[in-house]
Symmetry: C3
Subunit: 204 residues, 3 copies
């Protein structure tokens, strides 16, 4: 039950982020729906592909699909209701989606008996894959590889689950809250992983 | 038989559209072949992936593959024969390819017992997926999400077939003609679905 | 044994090329790892998808994965060690990776009993797919379709193996050397396949 709620929050948050990008690119109504659905379900699809679940398992998510369609329809019809609030609450929603999907992806891969590396990748892909496909389809440079430790938190969630450090509703709930809080903190304090620009090491 | 002809028309139309983009991007001979093949067969490959058919079913389409190679070779060797005519007849060919592939994709998904939503998505992906991959590979912003109801017509074809409103050669033939005509009309009269630019709803 | 060495060289060369692009794009540490892994393993993943091997077979390559991680860590920590040398030896490494992966992809497809066209495509995808995904993820225009016969040499390797013209360690070794040499020669002498710019055939 807790789990379903998290999944719903993730789906809504990612569908809305797809709607925003589609509106920024001046897509029409169908383009808005498609980009929203791709963002909400694309991460799970790529994860399924790489860990050996049939991608067509997507079609069993009928309820989430319906919720996403309803949310996107409301968002498209009444943008004034939420666009301004998005800047304030969007980050929180996105962090919750990131955490929920990363944890779900890691559990999925664990249940299939994959090794730790695959569990971490599954967490990362489920959490960030939808946004990646959204950016590629919208002709944008995917930012998830240089944003403030965005993908890093999903990998930590994957590591924790892959090492079996938490379990049960309470353990997963704590992990969920931890990922959300860490993601929020990394944005507010602009935490950065080490970068290296190439030029400085090249001879002139 | 009718069906094979439609499939051949779709393959040729999409292969040629890939050849045009490859020439615009100054690709070499192999680049031309690859972009043509990707455009002609990419939609079916993505559709197969998402509805649970092995993507390797691609390799059973030997005849279509051969036809596409021959057409692309002629197109590359004698561009003056067709490039100018393309602007006039290319739209019709593209509409026929769109309709044929959308109908084929929807039938495919229906036969596999997928729900209506999957049938619509299969129609949309088969009809438009090849052009999408072509644009991503050529480093272009995919336009199918904002062109004149491009993807919308494929979804209507999927809806009609998913609801079992038509069947048989005659029913499918009528649907095919309807999609082609609607697509042509939407270009000539510049029909547009509702758009929303984001800025107007943001506070300054 | 010889084979494993080739595979290791290919993986290292492609992982380093991903690291270079990630540094040029100012990605952070995790972005560097991800782009390196995608470049090294993406071609095999796409090949598996298209010839009907489960993509999850990726996870059996644990040793290569570990090698890639170690190499990328060293490369990130000590860029001054190799970035300047890369321009001199990078081309050779890349050619060896291209040849090793193309041959491996073609053998894979042959063993599965696919027709000649699939063997050629498997060779091309395994050799060049990783670089393609790398460029798309980094928001760059994929260059492999117009670089000096880059993909062409992989297809020749596929053709030779698909027609069963070579076999055994010695035969494959000769093919490997031939592909590397041809690739190097095509860069040094700037061999080009025929190009056609579209504009010259369009009426004004």
């Amino acid at each position: 039950m807790t789990w379903d709620i998290l999944n719903i929050i993730g789906t809504i948050a990612f569908a809305l982020s797809g709607v925003i990008v589609a509106m920024e690119e001046d897509y029409d109504l169908i383009g808005v729906y498609i980009l929203g659905l791709v963002t909400a379900f694309g991460g799970g699809a790529i994860r399924n592909l790489l860990i050996g679940v049939p991608v067509s398992a997507l079609w069993d998510q009928g309820t989430l699909f319906t919720i996403a369609i309803i949310v996107m329809t409301i968002a498209f019809l009444f943008p004034s209701l939420w666009v301004n609030r998005w800047m304030r609450f969007g980050l929180l929603f996105d962090a919750m989606g990131l955490a929920a999907f990363a944890i779900q992806g890691a559990l999925y891969a664990t249940e299939m008996g994959h090794p730790l590396s695959a569990v971490i990748v599954a967490a990362a892909l489920t959490g960030t894959g939808g946004g990646m496909v959204r950016d590629v389809l919208a002709g944008r440079k995917p930012l998830f590889l240089r944003k403030e430790i965005y993908i890093g938190w999903t990998m930590i969630a994957g590591l924790v689950i892959g090492l079996n450090l938490v379990s049960g509703v309470i353990g997963l709930g704590i992990l969920f809250v931890a990922v959300v809080v860490l993601r929020m903190l990394s944005v507010y304090y602009q935490w950065q992983l080490p970068h290296r620009k190439l030029e400085q090491f090249q001879s002139p």
